[in-house]
């Protein structure tokens, strides 16, 4: 909306019109609000553990217990393969990564509803809010990766053979893909839910179901035939596989899977940005 109109007589700083250019992402404006982005991230992190006894330790408790439950149910009872890796290591890598994606998706998808009070009273580029969600979740993800590192070092120490190679360099790239997909999908859902709330109900268990359609608790290599095909269509599958490959040395990864992840993430993000951009201007009237 920040068009600068260079007429001979009129030079306006701001022109407000009913329709936005869909492709105008107002990046300059977002940059001007970068301090707000940082403060939102800080608020999310700090307010998470204020007035708790364990404080930041809570960041670890959820993945630890989930991992224990998964080891028991999927590892011991169901006996699902972990690609030859120690079960704790296999599960915690998948869970931590998946949680990052799921948190981004869940929180972004209700961003309009959760922040209706602020959005209805003050203007700032709306995209700052989903971006702050992705960033604060990234911080949490980083903290939780410490837990992974501890378990990893333990297995190194007791002599479990773990391969680590140049694929590690791809780890940040896959995390970026995850962020793109979580943000993109979340923005699509958030835009649709401003008017129709149905999707929120769908999303809550949809994300849980999607986890089972992604290779979080089993490796892609354990599948075959039609099932392999359908699971690998899921854009998140190659990302989780890629993350395991970069950290633990197992998992399906080649140029084809890399580009599939790149393209699917980019398309989801671009589509999400466009639809978010369309809705943000007048959602206040409908939410």
């Amino acid at each position: 909306m920040n068009n600068t109109n260079h007429n001979v007589e009129e030079d306006w700083d701001l022109v407000i019109v009913p329709q936005n250019n869909l492709f105008d992402l107002k990046l300059k404006e977002v940059w001007r609000y970068r301090d707000l982005l940082v403060l939102f991230v800080r608020r999310d992190i700090v307010s998470f553990y204020k007035q708790t006894i364990l404080g930041p330790l809570w960041f670890f408790i959820q993945p630890i217990f989930t991992t224990i439950v998964y080891i028991f149910i999927f590892g011991r009872l169901a006996g699902i393969s972990t690609d030859g890796l120690p079960q704790p290591l296999f599960y915690i890598a998948g869970i931590t990564a998946w949680n990052y994606f799921a948190d981004c998706l869940n929180k972004t998808s209700t961003v309009f509803r959760d922040n209706a009070a602020i959005f209805g009273k003050v203007y700032f580029p709306r995209i700052v809010m989903p971006l702050s969600i992705v960033l604060s979740n990234l911080l949490r993800f980083g903290i939780q990766m410490v837990l992974f590192l501890i378990i990893y070092l333990y297995y190194q120490f007791i002599g479990t053979p773990l391969t680590i190679d140049y694929h590690l360099l791809l780890f940040p790239v896959f995390v970026l893909f995850m962020a793109m997909q979580g943000l993109g999908l979340g923005m699509i859902v958030s835009a649709l839910t401003t008017k129709y709330r149905d999707l929120i109900f769908l999303l809550t268990f949809g994300v849980q179901l999607l986890m089972y359609a992604t290779t979080v608790i089993y490796p892609l290599s354990s599948l075959s035939g039609k099932l392999y095909f359908w699971i690998s269509i899921n854009p998140m599958t190659y990302i989780i596989e890629g993350i395991r490959r970069s950290l633990l040395g197992t998992g399906v990864f080649d140029l084809h899977t890399f580009f599939y992840a790149l393209f699917s993430s980019s398309i989801i993000l671009i589509f999400g940005l466009l639809i978010f951009n369309k809705v943000e201007k007048s959602f206040v009237d409908t939410i």
């Binding site: 700083d13 009913p18 609000y33 608020r43 009070a117 209805g120 003050v122 008017k195 206040v284």
Partner: protein
């Protein structure tokens, strides 16, 4: 002078009613019409935004074809009844929602204060919230750091600055929040009815601060309030809105008068009012409050005489043992400021048929503002008729002391007739 805000043909439509299953089919219909390059089928019929009448369409125009411009350094008050579109206008100007049609051109940065303390997080301390709130309002971090001490100083909550704001009293909360907003460095400041909260002392401080921002720093202010005194205090000019349209734009005092008269002109004849008590042995048909020196009905000059006239009808064949007629005068806060009663006067009038009674008041000592009356009739020790908040009238200021200066608003509820002498002793 240069133009700060220029608004052309601005309109804003809202959809009434529920968004539900029906909305989807209409969205598809709308989308289909737009896709073929036709007009939006649900936006064609426009109706004025009158909330008390039921319209045929469920699209309502909250703003309709507004055209105006505001000069740099001006302080403009926006007044109008609830639902006149004031807040919608401010929301569109502050980009919280987008207009349905029209264009707004702005020179300079806009900061808007539609609510005090937007985005305050209860778990964060005052200090943390100053930064967060400032950033939400569009300040850069270094701008906030530079002004931090002034903000804390202005708010007067220094002692609690490292306490989570959830432990603040609501007054402290508002003080801190306004302090942040008052230190915004924008060329244009938009303020909605936010000062209603907070005590009188702080309200005055805020109005004073806004005056500094406007007069001292030459920044433009748009201010919505139902408190005419603060508008009068702060604004050079005012805009009167009604049903989404501009009625007038001009000098503050004349616009406020126009507004108060428009409020009163709607008042119905007393006999049509349904909300009344009593057995109606005496029934008020109509009434008026008239200043002796003013041409406008329902308006009284300070320190001049005025007359309250009550038209009544007495039920036929009633024996009168005793009666009384009272008129209570309330200010715009609903406080009783004066009382007139037939009971306190040693004169006996006969009541008969359809007739009228008048109270004559000398040297009206009420301070300028809008007032209403409660009227009460009692016959033979039984309530006959009782109406609340009727006969609205305004007291308008007069240069009583012939100095060209008037008693400022907020300086008391009554005027005293005084003079000064030098103490020769």
């Amino acid at each position: 002078m240069a133009i700060a805000i220029k608004v052309e043909n601005l309109s804003k439509a809202y959809q009434l009613g529920e968004f539900s299953t029906g909305t989807l089919s209409r969205d598809l219909e709308r989308w289909w019409a737009l896709a073929r390059g036709k007009e939006d089928p649900f936006l064609i019929i426009g109706e004025a935004n009158d909330r008390s009448k039921k319209g045929s369409s469920d699209i309502v125009w909250s703003l309709k074809d507004l055209n105006f411009q505001i000069e740099q350094g001006d302080a403009v008050g926006i007044i109008g009844k609830n639902g006149a579109g004031k807040s919608t206008l401010l929301k569109v100007l502050s980009q919280v929602t987008s207009p349905t049609s029209g264009i707004i051109k702005v020179k300079g940065r806009i900061a808007s204060l539609l609510e005090v303390g937007t985005g305050f997080h209860p778990e964060l301390t005052g200090r943390e919230n100053i930064f967060l709130n400032g950033a939400i309002l569009g300040m850069r971090k270094h701008e906030i750091s530079r002004q931090f001490d002034q903000i804390v100083d202005f708010s007067g909550v220094e002692r609690y600055i490292d306490t989570p704001v959830k432990r603040y009293s609501s007054g402290m909360y508002v003080r801190l929040a306004f302090a942040v907003a008052a230190h915004l460095e924008s060329e244009i400041l938009i303020v909605d009815e936010v000062l209603a909260v907070g005590d009188a002392e702080f309200q005055n401080k805020c109005i004073g601060k806004m005056g500094d921002i406007n007069k001292g720093e030459g920044r433009t202010i748009l201010f919505v309030s139902h408190n005419m005194a603060s508008i009068q205090n702060l604004c050079k000019s005012a805009i009167l809105m009604s049903k989404g349209q501009f009625l007038n734009h001009g000098n503050t005092n004349s616009i406020i008068n126009e507004y108060l008269i428009s409020l009163n002109s709607k008042s119905e004849a007393l006999e049509d009012i349904k909300e009344r008590k009593g057995n109606q042995d005496i029934f008020f048909l109509n009434g008026k409050v008239e200043g002796i020196n003013t041409d406008d009905i329902n308006s009284v000059e300070t320190f001049s005489d005025f007359i309250v006239t009550l038209d009544y009808r007495l039920r036929e064949n009633i024996t009168i043992f005793n009666y009384r007629i009272d008129v209570g005068i309330n200010n715009n806060l609903g406080d009783r400021v004066a009382w007139l009663s037939s009971n306190n006067i040693n004169q006996n009038f006969d009541l008969f048929g359809e007739s009228k009674l008048q109270f004559i008041v000398k040297n009206c000592p009420l301070s300028p503002g809008s007032y209403t009356c409660n009227i009460y009739a009692e016959l033979n020790n039984t309530t006959a008729d009782w109406l609340v908040n009727v006969l609205p009238f305004n007291v308008v200021e007069k240069d009583y002391y012939n100095t060209g200066r008037i008693v400022p608003p907020n300086q008391g509820n009554i005027l005293l007739n005084y003079s000064m002498v030098e103490d020769a002793g």
